[in-house]
Symmetry: C2
């Protein structure tokens, strides 16, 4: 059977679930490797994927006999079939964080389910640990991101707008083999860089600007996420001090990342050092990266978790001085048994754009 | 009080709802005119919008005293406040089509609600009828779409790829005052045009191609939606026949659209005429257009509804011949008491691209 589904079925056993309804398209892509609208039903006997005419051909091409998945065209499934899928299932799981209340009620009714129960993100938890193919895709997405950064450093000129730079990043990704953006690109210059989630504006790049560029692409569905803060013409000394503090902490976290370390411990390192220096760490230190650019685990002071081999996470401390400027340095990193393998490899020293 | 909220409160009264939780960001934008993360609570006494520090300033700037909305920063709201918001409310409504099952349970618990009840899209139903400001925004979005079509007809050259054309459409919208795309642009040429929901590919434009371009933008949050099917160098006679049949029906539907007509009746017109000619209408004839590019009402054979003044809908019959080609012609249309005002005004005769 499809290895990823086999693991989910093991987990279902331990939770006393005899069936499961999977409707989140990201989870379906994770389990089946196909981007097709539909619903995946894990019943007592079978793995059933119900889709429609638009996708049947593509699905049949992707799925092999070894996957052990029965594919149906929606129009060939009648209500009698639906009522029988989960017969003799005491408990059927569903994705309570994805399914709307209206859908929840529809499922109960359509599939005649007595106990439709919450599954507490069993698929999302499994998605935290990447297999070799997933790692390869993320490495490719990170490589494209590094290449794009190199390109964008030579592309940026004074008097260009933040929007123009963001559009060039998107163009570069699309023309160089990425599926598209992993998320809306942040290009925040000068005073705009003081907002961690700034949206690109019509502000023009000027001499002396700090520019925070937070960007990433998708490759075969998998994401990259990198931030670099760069400078135009020169870097003022008081900005250098903040940059050095952020980078020092980013590198210290990088050193500590490995299987077994607590996400809380990781978060506390830059948080404490920033505090000593009169600053705060106002957002999470990082997050998992995969099919979603933000996914489990989250590296914040609330949700303690211990890193495991083959998790892929970001390491992104930042300092923001309201009304002045902000500095963030972020990499996408693979967790190994002995340390961190940094997948985004762009220059983290002062990158200074100098041109007419 | 804010007029849109006053209407919702009237509807709530008739449904015996003493309170309502609104969390769908599109509905919040509709009611408050602001794009801010947060939750809108209509309680017995007040309209409360709870957001966070990032948005407070922008929200305070947009909302006036006449709106009668109390704005809170999330960090100033404690669980004691939350438990009191809906005190003495017998029934509190929520958006069952938007809220996940996990959130539904969280709301019940957080706000100590006894009966959290489904509201059957009361806001979405109100959104069907546009006010003057909304109509103005959609007219502007349609105008930009017409301008973009004119531009793209002069931009397309043979050997360009579908993707390049789609990217140029996006660039044009962004550089000419649109917020962005209303949906992912469809550019489907030659055989690809036979799929109603084709995604732009690396296929190059060739002589003799049919090109279906389905596109639209957002302006102040409001959408436009238009399809034109154009030709490269020449139109073959058997394609002309299908084009003429689609356009004839599109114009007939246009003539019939006015307050009071049934959506089912509208759908049946092209469906019957296509059948007589040996073709099928395989998708809806149209849909409402507003903050969402697809919203109520839906013009299909299932959901009968009677059009009302100031609804804005699409009129988009299409014929698809598998493995060969497809033709669709679509306008965004304002319903008036006496007829249809077509908001997308681009040429619907044969548009033939001729260049080297």
């Amino acid at each position: 059977m499809n290895e990823k589904i086999r693991c989910i079925r093991n987990k279902m056993n331990s939770l006393n679930l005899q069936g499961m309804i999977i409707s989140n398209p990201t989870n379906i892509f994770y389990l089946l490797g196909i981007q097709a609208e539909g619903i995946l039903l894990l019943t007592r006997k079978e793995n059933i994927f119900i889709t429609d005419g638009r996708y049947i051909e593509a699905v049949q091409k992707t799925i092999t006999i070894d996957d052990e998945i029965v594919v149906f065209d929606r129009k060939d499934v009648d209500c009698y079939d639906e009522e029988n899928f989960f017969m003799f299932c005491e408990n059927v799981g569903f994705e309570e964080e994805y399914v709307t209340y209206a859908k929840y009620k529809e499922y109960m009714h359509r599939y005649k389910i007595n106990n439709l129960v919450e599954t507490e993100k069993i698929i999302e938890k499994q998605r935290m640990i990447k297999d070799n193919k997933e790692i390869e895709n993320i490495i490719k997405a990170c490589k494209l991101t590094d290449d794009c950064f190199k390109h964008i450093c030579s592309f940026i000129k004074k008097q260009m707008t933040e929007k123009e730079i963001a559009m060039e990043i998107e163009r570069y990704f699309k023309e160089n083999g990425a599926d598209g953006l992993a998320f809306e690109t942040i290009v925040a210059s000068g005073i705009n860089s003081s907002m961690p989630h700034a949206v690109p504006t019509d502000k023009k790049i000027e001499s002396g600007d700090v520019i925070t560029i937070d960007f990433g692409c998708k490759y075969n569905g998998y994401s990259s996420d990198m931030t670099r803060t760069i400078f135009v013409d020169f870097v003022q000394d008081y900005i250098k001090k903040v940059y050095d503090l952020v980078l020092k902490n980013q590198l210290q976290v990088e050193k500590e990342i490995k299987e077994g370390i607590s996400t809380k411990t990781l978060f506390k390192m830059p948080e404490s050092d920033f505090k000593v220096n009169g600053f705060d760490l106002i957002h999470a230190l990082g997050h998992g990266v995969g099919l979603d650019v933000h996914e489990m685990p989250y590296i914040n002071p609330k949700d303690e978790m211990f890193l495991k081999e083959n998790m892929i996470i970001t390491n992104e401390p930042g300092i923001y001085i309201p009304g002045k400027f902000g500095i963030r340095v972020e990499d996408t990193v693979l967790v190994t048994k002995t340390g961190a393998e940094v997948l985004t490899k762009s220059n983290k020293n002062y990158v200074i754009i100098k041109n007419k």
